[in-house]
Symmetry: C2
Subunit: 192 residues, 2 copies
């Protein structure tokens, strides 16, 4: 049996990411991946049992990037008041999205293909911490009593649209400050 090579696994994931960004998640096939990664198709199956596993792994890799570049633990720190923690969460999504627009596109593409409410999304740990944070804010009447995926979806889609606008050169990054985007999001969420 062939020995697994972590470097090859990365090459395969990179190929999957490249196809998603160019053609969308639906276009991913092991044939295409093998061709782009310059390896035999049978070799792809050594690392990933099917297309679903490939997409899961690329999704998880992007989620891990978010965890590693952001300070998720702070969101649970009860010494910090809840409004500040929510602001911090929004700021982290904002910074990550500006620095990694492709990563946000990958996540959105894979989520879109899998369905927003797929177990894939709900069971990963950063989402659980954010979910907990927002539930706490609802219970303490800091934010509106609405489905948590409306709150989280608003944060994600507003910031993602904004960074896509910058990427499409609709306006320069300097045109709007974080504060402008934050105010839009926070005004929706909070109880007035």
């Amino acid at each position: 049996m062939k020995k697994k090579d972590m470097n090859k696994q990365t090459i395969i994931q990179d190929a999957v990411a490249e196809i998603i960004l160019a053609e969308g998640a639906v276009s991913v096939s092991t044939t295409k991946v093998a061709k782009l990664a310059h390896i035999a198709q049978s070799n792809v199956y050594l690392y990933f049992k099917d297309k679903q596993a490939l997409l899961d792994s690329v999704y998880q890799r992007e989620r891990n990037r978010i965890i590693n570049t952001t300070d998720i633990a702070e969101l649970r720190n009860h010494d910090i008041d809840i409004e500040t923690r929510i602001r911090y969460y929004i700021e982290q999504v904002y910074d990550y999205s500006l620095a990694n627009p492709d990563s946000m596109n990958l996540i959105q593409q894979i989520k879109f293909l899998m369905g927003e409410d797929d177990g894939l999304v709900i069971n990963d740990s950063p989402n659980n911490i954010v979910h907990e944070l927002l539930q706490e804010a609802i219970d303490n009447q800091v934010i509106k009593k609405l489905p948590i995926n409306l709150h989280m979806g608003m944060v994600f889609s507003t910031i993602h649209q904004h960074t896509n606008n910058i990427g499409d050169q609709q306006y320069p990054e300097s045109e709007y400050k974080f504060e402008d985007i934050y105010q839009f999001i926070w005004d929706a969420m909070r109880i007035h």
Copy 2:
């Protein structure tokens, strides 16, 4: 030359819509459409020159449904104050989305495939009227000075997520009133 048959055109559009809802817009091919519509593939080309034309036509059909079921002209009626007109716009998207969740999914799928900022979206007339309305509201300092696609995207994605939640039976329609959803959206948009 074969004579065009409007009934057949509708059958083809229905087949396209069925494929999009089941498998996503990327999966549409003239081969699949011909099979589902029980007509020869050459016949599909009699009505639509390519896949792009097929998707455009289904997108346009859904947009026309929105126009026909909503009172777009009222949005331009300057006898009505601007806040009321924006509320009316949000209410129309809400009512349409609850009554036609599949239609919203079709529009989202096709938009997603084409890219949000495609000419397809920007050049259609209901969007132009909404664009005009929101620009007027920005100029009059009624809503925040932010890209109009952030305002419109928020309205669309919040309502769409909410109707999808209902469709997925996460909660019954009665759990949240229009007023709850409206307040979330309007608080984000307006200047406080």
